[in-house]
């Protein structure tokens, strides 16, 4: 598919036949690099555009084109906006991996930030802020601070987003920014206001986001209509966190917002409903009025969303949510709106069936049973099963009407295997709650065989529970004995056979004996099942009457799972959030940022390993640096140890050398963590060398040098001409360094610690090598 895409970009000259490796991406990228280099000197903007476009096309496909970074930096000094936009997109994407070179590009960004055209100022600032590496901060902050008070709102709103970006890189640079952001909420431009709200919510997330005062609420509501749909939805979402001081204020706000329910944008309607719900949650009567009032707009959105089926689904989820919280009768009149339509995708039909099951009541049940009955024969099995489940759910919820449903379900049972299977499961639930329906199920249970595992278990349960009323029960149970089935099923079978035995001992005795025999004499049988069988066997031998008593005085069930109401309050809070869609509380599907950072690091690591494997034969590219090294870094092409660190294996003295790609890019740890590790670990490796070069023996240069080799600084200090720095990094395991340059003695000291000593040693060699290459030591 990749070549297809490349070829669809018209008028790009075909790649020259210089491929180093046929069909190798690396070859293509190298060619592209040459192409970009050659076109740089061209005057023709059109040609240049096409080349840059090609680079972006590659980038989109996920091919790593970061190698072209220096060329693209050069190309960024253009006045052609078409090229500039593409190049900036490229630079922001790859700056993270090319920190040193990214500095080259910064000056262009800075220049554009002072352009006379606000569009270009905003554009440059947005991209400058998207350069994701810590070194950029010092250039960034002055630009942001200046732009926050730019005369053009486009620049101001971009600057605010810049603050959020900085917050995720180095929050300490943002001291006292909150005050300014709060001030910007009174800006003239609605987008500036919205961005300020977003920024405050992110920066103050730990304190629960932006603080809402009555004054602020009044102000935002007064200007509500100036905002676009998304702005309104954002403000309304903020408002839902607010608690009005008294009823008067509450009703004022609600009256003001009521006409927003007529909006065709579902985001606004749902946000308004959330406000209403949260305001009135402690006033049951008003709350119920609210639900009645919001019904029509919800049903309208669920019927037509400009052909937007996805929105329709979301609204249906919210209707189901409200209906399941005890307000199902609100929607009972509109049941026909939830009938499935032929042109709807499965996900909509399924949610509609769930809603129908919830809103069924005595006056609509007749129609609804017919309708649901039609769905049972739907070609889509999922729909068919769901409609059977819906009928079952209605029977459980409305016991008075269960009889009709049981009869209807019985009529489906010969149609298809999957229908029979599902019906038996539903019967089990109905019978569990109300045993009197067994009369209507009798025929079905005895006449048909079921094929699905869960349905078989359901059938066995029914046979056990109603053994005395089902004439054929012992003989149907017998058919399951000795057949290769799951352990779960055998457990159910054992229980059911015992139950039937206690009421029909003469018939069952032999069958039960067969079952005991088949379980206890099977060598491969599950040990728990064997134990259970042996226990019953011995108990029956000892005193059958005693165990019969035990069984029959079983626990009486009067609370059913289906009747339990989930805590209304807890779920209510999450209206208009993904919780409603997934039907899960937030902590089940949301994880903190660190979790994803780990995922990203792992991904990077895997990617590096993959590259290593595919390019072991290829000579790595020279790393450009400012340390006057003409030769490449000697990076031996050692395949990476594939196995996880294993102490035994490592004790055999790993001979490999570490190379740069072994280390995790942008690995980050906390200072406290570093301290605790440093003090807890044993001394690893240690060397002292003579300092050979004084000009780079300073904090900044060292940090940059180590950074390039993917080792990161965590602390540094200088006293009496002694520079002390701490670094860390991670490959197979974490490594920690204490690095000291003593200019008085002209020595360089390096202490390395790691959880695995041999790795400390290897890392030590790695650092020593690059220090030598930079001529810092000899």
């Amino acid at each position: 598919m990749r070549p297809h895409y490349a070829s669809s970009i018209a008028s790009i000259p075909p790649p020259k036949q210089q491929q180093y490796f046929e069909g190798n991406r690396k070859g293509e990228v190298n060619e592209l690099k040459i192409l970009v280099k050659n076109t740089l000197s061209e005057k023709d903007d059109k040609k240049k555009r096409e080349v840059v476009k090609k680079v972006i096309a590659y980038m989109t496909l996920g091919i790593d084109v970061s190698k072209i970074f220096p060329e693209m930096c050069m190309a960024s000094y253009t006045n052609d906006m078409v090229q500039k936009k593409m190049i900036y997109l490229y630079l922001t994407t790859y700056a993270e991996q090319n920190k040193d070179l990214a500095f080259m590009a910064i000056s262009t960004f800075q220049k554009d930030c002072k352009h006379s055209d606000p569009k270009i100022r905003g554009f440059a600032l947005r991209n400058l802020c998207s350069l994701r590496f810590s070194g950029a901060i010092e250039y960034l902050m002055p630009a942001i601070r200046e732009s926050l008070s730019d005369i053009d709102p486009y620049v101001r709103k971009t600057a605010i987003m810049g603050c959020v970006k900085v917050y995720y890189m180095q929050p300490e640079f943002l001291s006292n920014i909150e005050e300014q952001l709060y001030k910007m909420i009174s800006d003239n431009d609605p987008l500036v206001i919205i961005n300020a709200i977003h920024a405050l919510n992110e920066i103050l997330a730990a304190e629960g986001g932006m603080a809402l005062s009555k004054k602020l609420v009044d102000y935002l509501l007064g200007r509500l209509k100036e905002f676009n749909e998304w702005g309104q939805a954002t403000i309304l979402d903020e408002l839902s966190k607010y608690q009005p001081k008294d009823d008067k204020e509450m009703f004022n706000i609600m009256n003001l917002l009521e006409e927003r329910l007529k909006h065709s944008c579902s985001a606004i309607v749902l946000a308004v409903i959330k406000v209403f719900m949260n305001f009135t949650k402690n006033k049951p009567q008003v709350y119920e009025q609210v639900i009645t009032r919001v019904k029509a707009p919800l049903v309208t959105l669920a019927s037509i969303s400009e052909g937007n089926l996805e929105i329709m689904y979301t609204i249906l989820c919210h209707i189901k949510f409200i209906a399941s919280k005890g307000y199902n009768q609100v929607f009972s009149q509109d049941y026909k709106c939830f009938y499935c339509r032929v042109d709807e995708p499965t996900y909509i039909k399924l949610i509609k069936l769930e809603i129908l099951a919830l809103i069924a009541c005595d006056f609509n049940l007749g129609d609804m049973l017919n309708e649901l009955g039609e769905y049972v024969t739907d070609v889509d099995q999922e729909i068919s099963k769901k409609s059977i489940q819906a009928l079952g759910a209605i029977a459980l919820r409305l016991p008075d009407l269960a009889n009709a449903i049981v009869k209807q379900l019985s009529s489906f049972i010969t149609l298809q295997d999957y229908i029979t299977n599902e019906v038996i499961i539903v019967f089990k639930d109905i019978l569990r709650k109300d045993p009197k329906h067994i009369k209507d199920c009798l025929e079905i249970i005895q006449s048909d065989s079921v094929t699905d595992q869960n349905s078989k278990i359901a059938l066995i349960y029914i046979l056990g529970q109603f053994g005395s009323q089902i004439p054929l029960a012992p003989y149907i149970l017998q058919t399951f004995i000795g057949v290769a089935e799951s352990v779960e099923l055998k457990h159910a079978l054992l229980t059911s056979c015992l139950k039937v035995f206690f009421c029909r001992a003469p018939e069952m005795q032999e069958i039960l004996g067969q079952l005991f025999y088949s379980i206890m004499n099977n060598e491969n049988e599950d040990i728990d099942l064997k134990d259970r069988a042996a226990f019953y066997y011995r108990a029956l031998q000892n005193n059958p009457n005693e165990i019969k008593k035990l069984w029959q005085n079983g626990i009486k069930v009067d609370k059913f799972l289906e009747e339990q109401n989930i805590n209304k309050e807890a779920l209510l809070f999450e209206f208009n959030s993904l919780s409603v869609i997934y039907e899960k509380s937030v902590n089940k599907f949301i994880k903190p940022a660190e979790y994803f950072n780990n995922l990203r690091n792992k991904e990077l690591q895997d990617q590096i390993q993959e590259q290593q494997q595919s390019t072991t034969a290829e000579k790595p590219d020279p790393v450009q640096d400012g340390f006057d090294i003409e030769h490449d870094i000697t990076v031996p092409n050692v395949p990476i140890v594939q196995n996880q660190p294993n102490l035994l294996e490592i004790s055999e003295q790993p001979k490999q050398k570490l190379i740069i790609d072994n280390f995790v890019l942008d690995y980050r740890i906390e200072v406290e963590y570093f301290e605790s590790m440093w003090t807890s670990l044993n001394n690893g490796a240690s060397i002292t060398r003579t300092l050979a070069r004084n000009d780079i023996a300073n904090e900044n240069a060292m940090e940059q040098l180590f950074n390039r080799y993917r080792l990161y600084n965590i602390a540094a200090g200088e006293e009496d001409n002694v520079l002390q720095m701490y670094f860390y990094g991670a490959h197979k395991c974490q490594v920690f360094f204490e690095f000291e340059i003593n200019r008085n003695l002209s020595t360089v000291l390096l202490n390395t610690k790691s959880e695995l000593e041999d790795y400390a040693y290897l890392a030590q060699k790695y650092v020593e090598d690059f220090l030598k290459q930079s001529n810092l030591i000899v």
Binding site: M1, Y5, S8, K53, A57, T60, L61, G62, K85, L89, T93, K119, F123, M161, V164, K165, L191, N195, N228, E229, W230, A233, K262, S264, A267, L270, P297, T300, I304, N308, E310, I311, Y313, T314, Y339, R341, V342, D343, P345, T346, E374, T377, V379, D380, E382, L415, E574, S577, L578, S579, V580, I581, F589, I590, K591, Y595, F596, L599, R600, E603
Partner: protein, 439 residues
């Protein structure tokens, strides 16, 4: 707020991929596509994989996906993606794979202005227009037509299949744009008949959609029927047009609707829906179906279907397709048209066990009929198999016809400068949504 937005082709290739926050793995497009493929039908628009939230919409076969690590407002995220799709449509004219591949740089530009750090920024077409530097690249004309008329039309509910709507498939960036506005009144019919042609359930979902190429976005005044009434009282009878409920676009001021049935509109550029409405009341269905099933022998069934067009003879339905599912155990089926049938085809798809009856043009008042002769496999008898016939579903489109009688009385451009009077095009289109006859 989104972390990333990407657009995938129907086969899962990445066409557009934009990472705003760099806080999620880069492999999310693959993760998404793998998960989406686990659904038997279309994937749920919202799902989570490993605590990464995916919101997506499907337009023109393409997946437009947003990811996040936050607990999103579900409706807002989907509305945003929908808005993005509309922007792309406004700038490129149409939305499909070929157009997106050709215009990917332009789409990156749109994305860049529409979102910053994943937060929605400028999202109105006319706001972004001055900031865009790339020109749209139009696809080959014939390929547009192909992609516009997909064989199975499941998405873009309100896109007419047959009416030459080339006019609205234009980019708002077109410099030689005529000063004009298109107004469409779409109505989708939802009717359910039982076997004796009695209506069990019916409703209309409609909308007034505009596509504006007006220069300077002048305010508009749109007048509807005088007998229009919104909200239905229980058991009330009225000769007028009664809408059960309706809602309006952000740009619409509906304060005068109750008083003098007019809407004030501040139109944005490009396409937008002025008003959505739904009607649950009775109306006379434009088509009626009369199925007759006869058991000829224990292994043979004959199905006869009559279709009657119950609308004015001056009106012409541009197409009417009927799908008849037949028993799984069918050995063979022979659909037979009437001898004098014109512009009609009937085909049996033995894999899907469906007979497709397609009628190209159908004038009001006319009647058509189809006979299907079924032979069953030995394993099933005609008596049990006949239960598996149906439900019969219809698909049609009738231009210049609407069932609700909702009318546009006039569309006035309020502040007209010295320039020429802009063209105003008004169309009425009625389509089937779910038009089903049970047997």
């Amino acid at each position: 707020m989104f972390s990333q937005i990407f657009i995938l082709s129907p086969r899962g290739d990445t066409i557009i991929n934009r990472d705003f926050r760099s806080d999620l793995p880069k492999s999310t497009p693959e993760t998404f596509f793998r998960q989406a493929k686990t659904y038997s039908g279309d994937a749920n628009p919202l799902f989570a994989v490993d605590c990464i939230q995916f919101a997506h919409i499907k337009r023109g076969g393409l997946y437009i996906v947003g990811t996040s690590r936050f607990n999103l407002q579900p409706a807002m995220s989907l509305e945003l993606l929908d808005r993005l799709a509309k922007e792309i449509k406004d700038f490129c004219g149409v939305i499909n794979e070929e157009v997106l591949r050709k215009n990917f740089i332009l789409i990156y530009e749109i994305l860049d202005e529409s979102f910053d750090f994943g937060y929605p920024q400028l999202m109105a077409t006319e706001q972004i227009k001055p900031l865009i530097v790339n020109d749209p690249i139009q696809p080959q004309p014939d390929s547009v037509m192909n992609s516009l008329r997909p064989k199975i039309q499941t998405f873009n509910i309100f896109v007419p299949n047959t009416i030459g709507s080339q006019a609205v498939q234009r980019s708002v960036l077109n410099k030689n744009q005529a000063n004009e506005i298109f107004v469409d009144i779409y109505e989708k019919l939802n009717v359910l008949f039982n076997s004796s042609a009695y209506v069990i359930n019916q409703s209309i979902e409609g909308c007034i959609q505009m596509t504006s190429f007006l220069q300077g976005n002048p305010p508009l005044k749109l007048a509807l029927n005088d007998d229009l009434q919104i909200g239905r009282q229980q058991g009330q009878y009225s000769a007028g047009v009664i809408l059960d409920d309706c809602n309006f676009h952000e740009c619409v001021n509906a304060n005068e609707l109750d008083m003098n049935k007019t809407l004030r509109i501040q139109p944005p550029d490009g396409q937008f829906v002025v008003m959505n409405y739904r009607i649950s009341g009775d109306y006379s269905a434009p088509f009626r179906l009369f199925p007759i099933i006869e058991e000829i022998s224990s292994s043979k069934i004959e199905v006869t279907i009559k279709l009657k067009a119950c609308f004015d003879a001056k009106i012409l339905a541009s197409y009417a397709n009927v799908r008849i599912p037949i028993p799984k155990q069918t050995a063979n089926a022979y659909p037979e048209l009437l001898k004098n049938a014109q512009q009609e085809t009937a085909e049996y798809d033995s894999n899907k066990k469906i007979v497709e009856w397609q009628i190209k043009k159908l004038q009001g008042g006319q009647e058509r009929s189809l006979k299907i002769k079924l032979t069953l496999q030995a394993t099933q008898t005609a008596h049990t198999a006949r239960k598996e016939i149906g439900p019969i579903a219809m698909n049609f489109e009738i231009p210049m016809f609407n069932v609700s009688r909702l009318q546009i009385k006039y569309l006035r451009i309020e502040e007209r400068g010295n320039t020429t009077n802009p063209h105003r095009w008004v169309r009425y289109i009625t389509q089937s949504s779910s038009y089903v006859c049970r047997i």
